[in-house]
Symmetry: C2
Subunit: 410 residues, 2 copies
């Protein structure tokens, strides 16, 4: 057996303990983690300083920012953990019941997955979020946090393991495989039977690799080419601040706005207002003929995810054309219609095939924290298992309990 397989078997044993531990010990473990992180702030920040020092010059500024942990951010990690411990426990929730004619009683209940794997990059906050979500949903977790954050993650995992052991649960409930390097990530993706679910978080290329290579079921947390459709019946006074919020409140995230579609019926009035507001906010407007003085479209045309102070603007003939555009160029993440026309709103909600479809709201609300999930595992852009922000229930499976009195099949 490889060293990594030995580690994964320890995760499976921990998972069996967690699955039947009940709610209180798991909540106690999360609270102990919060306290331990608060108490270890100096060691965490010091380890992070080493990672940052190593990363300077090789990592992009955005990555360095995601990598950095100061005392304030460490305190926020502990606070998020305490919030998670306050949420309802999904484990044991009855999801369906039925009684068959022969008297068999069927009960479908939520159960933990068992062992969940996560592959991510340079985001030590994810290390704590995922560990606490896993404990909150009764799962053991195996973390591959990448070399850029290796020192920080090592201290965080060690801190969490001590906290978990202090309440009598297995320290192996949370493990890191960073020391196994890339070969470890590959072995994790092939560990069918030992790992029940794999969640990649990070760059498009990382997610692509995991989806292509994994033999373990994967939840794809994908890119967001997010659209807002300014309908003929839009209230422009409401629409402009909403579009600016969706585009500029934080540009580097998947739920930020990338494309504004404008209904031709109001294009003469609306396009200049939208474009002027965007430009005044420092946003570069890209277009393909509809906007005077616009920059050309991004490298992938209408399918470009800018993740920056750039937005594409297009005039479309009507609601159908808007839906067609979104179906063709979108990533099925989040799309919004701005309208006072209830019928148009309901058609948009029904026909746009995205994880989150909105009416008159900022796309920045597609977020586990905003949805009240405490933290999030990620935002699923696939349709199997979970769709949209993933919290505690999304890290559970189900099983059927069948209670009989000797029934046999005829």
């Amino acid at each position: 057996m490889t060293d990594l397989a030995t580690l994964l078997h320890a995760s499976r044993r921990a998972a069996r303990v967690l699955a039947v531990a009940g709610t209180e010990p798991r909540k106690a473990a999360i609270l102990a983690i919060a306290d331990a992180i608060d108490a270890s702030v100096d060691a965490i920040v010091a380890a992070n300083a080493e990672d940052l020092e190593r990363g300077r010059g090789t990592l992009a500024d955005g990555l360095l920012d995601r990598l950095a942990l100061d005392a304030t951010r460490v305190a926020a990690l502990a606070a998020a953990a305490r919030e998670l411990a306050d949420l309802p426990d999904p484990v044991g929730e009855v999801t369906r019941t039925r009684t068959l004619e022969n008297g068999l009683e069927l009960t479908e209940v939520r159960v933990p997955f068992g062992v969940v794997g996560a592959i991510y990059e340079a985001r030590p906050n994810v290390t704590v979020d995922l560990a606490c979500i896993a404990l909150g949903s009764g799962n053991a977790i195996v973390l591959r946090g990448g070399s850029a954050a290796e020192q920080t993650n090592a201290v965080l995992v060690e801190t969490m393991q001590r906290a978990i052991a202090s309440v009598g649960l297995p320290a192996e409930s949370v493990q890191t495989i960073d020391r196994f390097g890339r070969a470890g990530a590959t072995e994790l993706m092939r560990a069918r039977g030992l790992v029940d679910l794999l969640v990649p978080r990070g760059s498009a290329s990382l997610i692509e690799t995991v989806v292509r290579e994994s033999q373990v079921p994967v939840i794809e947390t994908g890119a967001g080419v997010v659209h807002a459709f300014v309908d003929a019946a839009a209230d422009l006074e409401q629409a402009i601040p909403l579009l600016l919020n969706a585009k500029t409140q934080r540009t580097s995230v998947c739920n930020s706005l990338e494309t504004v579609l404008v209904h031709r019926a109001i294009a003469d009035e609306a396009v200049p207002v939208v474009v002027d507001a965007m430009r005044a906010a420092g946003v570069t407007v890209h277009a393909d003929g509809d906007v005077e003085g616009a920059a050309p479209l991004g490298p992938e045309g209408w399918a470009t995810e800018h993740l920056s102070m750039d937005v594409a603007v297009r005039v479309v003939d009507d609601l159908d054309a808007a839906i067609d555009h979104i179906e063709r160029f979108g990533t099925h993440h989040t799309d919004v219609i701005l309208t006072e026309d209830a019928a148009a709103a309901e058609r948009f909600l029904a026909e746009v095939d995205s994880a989150v479809v909105m009416v008159n709201a900022s796309t920045r609300f597609t977020d586990g924290g905003q949805f009240g999930f405490g933290a999030e595992v990620g935002i699923s852009t696939q349709k199997a298992h979970a769709r949209g922000p993933m919290g505690l229930p999304e890290l559970t499976s189900t099983k059927w309990l069948v209670r009989g009195t000797g029934q046999v099949r005829a």
Copy 2:
């Protein structure tokens, strides 16, 4: 674009129509399929005779039996379709709601996947079951039914397409890619973005290939190394007919019994009774020291899935040892405890990590039809998305609808 990609794009267009078609047209399509199959019985049986003729001498008897369709079996296909049309429509069902403090109204609703792919072998009944389940859940389906059943499937698909078109829905809602051969199956597994879910049904090697190669999310419908644990508090008079039913009612299926575990406290009494009853029913008993005159274990020891009139018998020290055996050698499909001890029953239900865990019932009840699902897509042995028998709701995803009045994120 390849010819297959063109076909898959037609499936996507059909899926968009189905997603908003509403319940009635889809139920009408299923009923039209039932009528068309009844009306085409001669053509179906004739095509099947050609497949059978071709298969004789190359296919095993079990496969030939699964491949065969006579008038009775064709009528049963139509009847199953009518039963499916009677079930509640999962599409549009509200699964969660919440109102955020800022007034945003969140509604999670069931939606179709879109395009579902299926790869299976020599089972033309699956062609009709899957097509009708797909229509019942609002999905377009792409079928790869394998060369052994190619003539039968061609007639079935053509019959179903005419029926679907007759009620005004797209004929491309159901398509076969058999004419593309193995290369078509490979392309289907790589069609991420065009196909939303892939379900393999068939031999272990087929499922293994799909799990390993697919980049589309897969539901693994796996093997069943199914256990019955005869507890110290078992009622043997109830247990024996139940064990015989689980083992012999149909041996070639995944929910049939493979291993009987007997609690040591009653082994002296129970083992001879179980063994004698099995032998009297024509079952060969395999064991590793616990049973006089027993045959050796199968090729994979305790992990052998016989799918035949063979059963393994083992004495275990107690409930914990039984659970450990099942965890180590089982496939997490279906396992049952036979006991009158309620505490033992509840521990078994809680701690055995299988799709279906039973008390005092035949494992043969793990079946979509028996569970009241009308028909089944298959029995999922993985934990992501669906677990156990898969019916209409299991072929749906969800999406979040967010209704606002101009909310922006602070």
